[in-house]
């Protein structure tokens, strides 16, 4: 059960290995990695700049993770998020969930991503070379994705 916010890249294999090391009660591990794409909504992106709210970011991610643990029987979980300048192909976010059975691990990972997308205080600015930068607008589809968990 951990939250980490950092500039540095992370190593998905090492994180999963650390999470399951010495455990023989885990049946399912789901990971989600979010990557920077070089095209977003038709715009060519040369890099993104991720601003965040130090202090609140960690607290909010911990609240989201705690909510996932209330809803699903998770044996381990991890939420990592980067900030600063990132190039296309780099990993922005990593979510890992571990449970005895696959459905809980899948659902909790989707929930963490949906909630994080609408609650964690990060803001993306896309750099588009000579055309300057542009703040990314929030997606209604992200609100809808998060709202589907309200009914439960």
């Amino acid at each position: 059960m951990a939250v980490r916010v950092q500039r540095e890249p992370f190593d998905i294999g090492a994180e999963v290995a650390r999470l399951i090391a010495g455990r023989t009660d885990i049946g399912a591990v789901v990971t989600f990695s979010g990557l920077v794409r070089d095209v977003n909504d038709g715009r060519r992106v040369t890099a993104i700049w991720l601003e965040h709210y130090p202090g609140m970011t960690e607290e909010e991610l911990a609240r989201v993770e705690a909510e996932a643990q209330l809803r699903w029987p998770l044996q381990a979980s991890l939420v990592m998020h980067r900030y600063g300048k990132l190039s296309p192909g780099e990993t922005i976010v990593l979510v890992v969930t571990a449970s005895a059975h696959r459905q809980a691990a899948f659902e909790a990972a989707e929930f963490l991503m949906d909630y994080l997308k609408t609650r964690a205080p990060f803001w993306k600015k896309e750099e588009m070379g000579a055309q300057g930068g542009q703040w990314v607008e929030a997606r209604q589809s992200d609100d809808a994705a998060a709202a589907r968990w309200d009914r439960r």
Partner: protein, 88 residues
């Protein structure tokens, strides 16, 4: 007159328009909610008017917790304003 001293934080394009990331302000009496605070901020100059023009899309947090515009600010130490989040 009773004044309230509070730290304000701005992020993303709110920060860029206000022209600073944070400031400490003394609030006059009569500002009870986040919405009241936004209205007061808009009156502080053109940079604030520009930053808070689309008040409906601006989000707020009190002491690092998301709040609605109707939330009371009494006792707050740090109030942050920012656009809808776009992480992940």
């Amino acid at each position: 007159m009773r004044v309230m001293t509070v730290k304000l934080c701005y992020f993303a394009w709110v920060r860029e328009r206000v022209g600073k990331g944070e400031e400490v302000v003394e609030l006059p009496e009569g500002i009870g909610s986040v919405a009241d605070l936004v209205a007061w901020l808009r009156s502080r100059g053109p940079e604030y008017a520009a930053a808070f023009q689309r008040a409906d899309v601006i989000r707020a947090a009190i002491d690092r917790t998301h709040v609605k515009p109707t939330a009371a600010i009494a006792g707050a130490r740090e109030i942050a304003f920012f656009p809808p989040v776009t992480g992940g």
